[in-house]
Symmetry: C2
Subunit: 300 residues, 2 copies
């Protein structure tokens, strides 16, 4: 089987369908790259593209996406609820099949170098591709937002980017590029417009607050709905499965006397993560992908 890499660029545009259609077209124009999903959020003012294909093809698609986005998106004028530091905010490469993490790291660094040199946007390498330990995690790079990153780059030698010029691009900002394992983006919408409650819950349950392992969480306002959400990244769904994250939010929300409206998965989710959920609630100890009809048919 051909080696397969996933790439999940997050772009700072979630409202203009024309721009998103164009970005989608840029990705799918690269032969051998499949756009598996495009999830946009008006409140976040952000979109998540999920694409997959052979490593070199996916790397080329990621580069042309950053190039097209910098011409269409001005992050200095961006007003969304989701933290971001670039027109294309983050570009993770994920090993899917017959590819090692080391190869994804190499891919990320090669694409990062091209973005820095050819597009003159500063690039920070993160997660498995990180070179500077203080920049391993996205939340540390994004801390304080675009403006704070610009100041750090200006004043602190530690914040010289891995590639590209040592200052923010006037419209494209900066780009975080790296390699990581599969991640599940899972949001739970609360029945309140008080963002402080979502923020308090996020702080309580996330790893950095002493909560659940392998869980990042933020409280985010959803002005278009008059609601708030706990926006989560599950960085290892075997350590903290979807249902554990959901029940933790539900338990905390109960304490506040606030209900759950609904949940939302951003982008794609591994089948295994869904099987974990069903196995838990139905008390099915042995549920595995080999019991799923479509999985077996796909294998044959």
């Amino acid at each position: 089987m051909k080696p397969l890499v996933e790439c999940v660029p997050n772009v700072s545009e979630g409202r203009d369908p024309q721009v998103l259609d164009l970005l989608a077209a840029v990705v799918t124009q690269v032969p051998g790259v499949h756009l598996l999903d495009l999830h946009r959020d008006e409140d976040h003012h952000r979109a998540v593209l999920t694409c997959a294909g052979e490593p070199e093809a996916v790397a080329q698609a990621a580069f042309t996406l950053v190039q097209a986005a910098m011409e269409r998106i001005d992050v200095s004028r961006h007003m969304g609820q989701h933290p971001r530091i670039g027109a294309v905010d983050v570009v993770p490469f994920v090993p899917l099949r017959d590819v090692t993490m080391a190869q994804c790291v190499e891919l990320a660094r090669a694409v990062g170098a091209r973005i820095g040199t050819e597009l003159e946007i500063p690039v920070f390498l993160y997660e498995e591709a990180a070179v500077v330990p203080q920049r391993k995690h996205l939340e540390h790079i994004r801390k304080g937002g675009l403006e704070a990153l610009g100041r750090r780059m200006h004043t602190d030698a530690l914040w010289r980017p891995d590639f590209g010029p040592p200052k923010l691009h006037p419209t494209a900002g900066a780009v975080v590029v790296g390699a990581r394992d599969i991640l599940i983006a899972f949001n739970v919408v609360l029945d309140t417009d008080n963002v402080a409650i979502a923020q308090a819950i996020a702080k309580q349950i996330r790893t950095s607050g002493g909560g659940l392992p392998a869980l990042k969480a933020l409280g985010i306002q959803l002005p278009s709905r008059g609601l708030v959400q706990v926006s989560m990244n599950l960085t290892n769904y075997r350590k903290t499965p979807l249902h554990v994250a959901f029940e933790a939010v539900k338990h905390q929300a109960d304490q506040w006397g606030v209900g759950i409206v609904e949940s939302e998965l951003v982008g794609l989710v591994p089948q295994d993560a869904i099987l974990h959920v069903a196995a838990h609630y139905l008390k099915l100890p042995h549920l595995a992908s080999r019991q799923i009809l479509e999985t077996r048919l796909c294998e044959e």
Copy 2:
């Protein structure tokens, strides 16, 4: 794409691995037939083979399976907890892809005719392939067990089989052959050895007792575990999803003060049925197979 039919023969042998290995080999020896699953149960003394392939190949596999089973299984000496009327008890054909139900009916009737004529085992057509309306449902054909069926065949012209001799085969009994939609076999194990409780719950929740739609249920003893189970067939998981059946059993068991030990899926389950479960418990209104990574990769 090639047309694809599923066939799920249930055989009255769940204990002897040599016999089951042989039956599995008989199925996989037919070119183009894939054995997707073999589930055996010692208490039921029954095994369920799930195979798939092109219609003619699957039909041939079903016939040779009945032929091999009649040489190895003596249903007149069978002592299992699950109701049955034949060495091979029931052979359903299920349209999976680019095949109509009408084609599966034709297939079932052709295989039934061969079993009747060449193997001299009486064959009853059921579900979509049924010719006699009173024999549409398996539970009506099996009512009272092998002995009662033998008597009905002897005394009632309505119970002349669709194919084969008008009396039971001395060791192979009879075979029910037909066509139906996908069915989920789902068992919930209760924390009691009192089979009357499982039977009462089954009666309460099944369609025939005025319970949930598209649900068949039996209470079955599990002597090897000192427990009992509610053994269910969900004949339309969109009408009664897995979680609704599970919660119904749980609710009834609560009334009896009995806990749920675990559940079990027999054979394969459509991915969609598992997505329904996760969507319900996680409050995910839009969860669909297009959000499952493996599904998208399989499509590309």
